[in-house]
């Protein structure tokens, strides 16, 4: 496995197809070997799939672990005493939650890689930050929800942080006015989960008619569109609606999940999600799991070279997506770019997981 400093020296969006393929194949074979040695459940899955890391010639041959297995099993590749923290997805009552086990090495890698991606997105300076959420999200420090972990992860890129919502999830308009007055003329960084931004920030600004001037701000949001799609809100409407209430022009979505924190897929100015050096996406046909063509809808498989304390390096999500291209996005970033259409229908009817939506 590549050591941390070499991993972090990779240009976030500079590897072209052949370079990336070779890098991922070597890295993922090594990770597969490590997890097979240390996580018996993963080793059984691998042998049931008839795959050995020693004979893999392309990372695309590695069998993806269905992401829901993190709800059903405790999957970890380190002894309990090496665990630094456990991240859980926030299910509603009675729903099973995912548990992701992190040791210090993996947690640090996640933070550092996220920092590289965000530096490339926002520039190097830490910006005054508005967290579009409630401080109550971080109350239980022993067991983080994915939402809390996301807030903390992104908080690194901000300074003089304020929460837009109070403990009761009410918009703190006067607090925001004071914050914006203190930082007049500066670029402001807003972070929040898509649904929270819509329901508690946008809708409240719209309802109350309160004015906020965020023309100089950039909003990074993630967590999925399912709840908004249910309300028939498209990406374009989301952008237009936010611009209407606060003037914000730069709104960037990202795709990521608690099971692969850090190596997220950030949207570019053309609205395409990009795989950075440390992760990749494969779109598979649901019928036979073969690889879909560019432009063809299929299941989203996500790949990350970061998970070392749990076997989460190759995961099959419950989302549908489309690969849009590779190495040739007009924004100039190399690597694959894609779009996510939403949750697969059968996954919803089974009531399975609100993981990405309700973080």
């Amino acid at each position: 496995m590549t050591d941390e400093s070499a991993l972090l020296a990779l240009p976030p969006y500079g590897l072209i197809r052949e370079e990336k393929h070779a890098f991922l194949t070597g890295e993922l074979a090594a990770l597969t070997r490590l997890h097979a040695e240390r996580c018996p459940a993963y080793a059984r899955m691998l042998s049931a799939a008839g795959v050995s890391p020693d004979t893999v010639t392309s990372f695309e041959q590695l069998p993806p672990l269905p992401v829901r297995l993190f709800k059903e099993f405790d999957l970890k590749s380190v002894p309990d005493e090496a665990l630094a923290k456990t991240v859980t997805s926030s299910g509603t009552t009675g729903q099973q939650v995912s548990r992701v086990y992190l040791d210090r090495e993996t947690a640090a890698l996640q933070s550092r890689v996220l920092a590289k991606i965000m530096q490339s997105t926002l520039g190097g300076a830490r910006l005054p930050m508005i967290i579009v959420d409630s401080p109550a999200t971080l109350q239980n420090r022993d067991r983080f929800t994915a939402r809390g972990a996301g807030i903390l992860g992104f908080s690194l890129f901000g300074r003089e942080k304020v929460y837009a919502l109070n403990e009761a999830m009410e918009l703190d308009v006067s607090g925001l006015h004071a914050f914006l007055a203190r930082h007049e003329g500066e670029t402001i960084f807003l972070f929040g989960f898509t649904f929270i931004v819509w329901q508690y920030f946008y809708a409240e600004l719209r309802r109350s008619g309160a004015k906020l001037d965020l023309r100089n701000a950039v909003l990074v949001h993630g967590g999925g569109w399912k709840k908004l799609a249910d309300q028939a809100v498209s990406r374009a409407q989301f952008h237009d609606a936010l611009r209407d209430v606060c003037g914000i022009e730069r709104v960037l979505d990202y795709y990521g999940m608690a099971e692969q924190a850090g190596s997220i897929f950030m949207e570019c100015e053309y609205g395409h999600l990009h795989a950075p050096a440390w992760s990749d996406v494969l779109i598979r046909r649901p019928r036979d799991f073969s690889l879909a063509y560019i432009g063809e809808t299929g299941l989203v498989e996500v790949i990350s070279v970061l998970p070392r304390s749990y076997p989460g390096h190759v995961l099959l999500t419950e989302d549908e997506g489309v690969l849009l291209g590779e190495d040739d996005c007009p924004c100039g970033r190399k690597g694959k770019y894609f779009t996510v259409l939403g949750r697969v229908r059968h996954a919803e009817t089974r009531g399975c997981s609100d993981t990405y939506e309700s973080r």
């Binding site: 920092a115 190097g124 420090r141």
Partner: protein, 78 residues
């Protein structure tokens, strides 16, 4: 207040620990110095010394001693 006192106070206030305990702590291994505590600590250090730390330094801030080394980059001698 000397820099040393300010530095120790930042740890004590942000991580809610006794002064004697602070120098023994490491990020991720001490219960009080978890990721929430970490962000509080960064804010406290930035306030105390009127500096703005870079992202990489925030990530590298992993122990009491390491923090002193990092602050030297910001012309703060502990």
């Amino acid at each position: 207040m000397t820099n040393q006192e300010k530095y120790l106070n930042a740890f004590v206030a942000a991580l809610e620990v006794a002064p004697g305990e602070a120098p023994t702590l490491t990020y991720g291994e001490s219960k009080s110095w978890d990721s929430v505590g970490h962000m509080a600590l960064v804010a406290a250090l930035e306030d105390a010394f009127d500096i703005m730390m870079e992202m990489d330094d925030i990530i590298d801030l992993s122990s009491f001693d390491k923090g002193k080394e990092i602050l030297r980059k910001y012309a703060v001698e502990i």
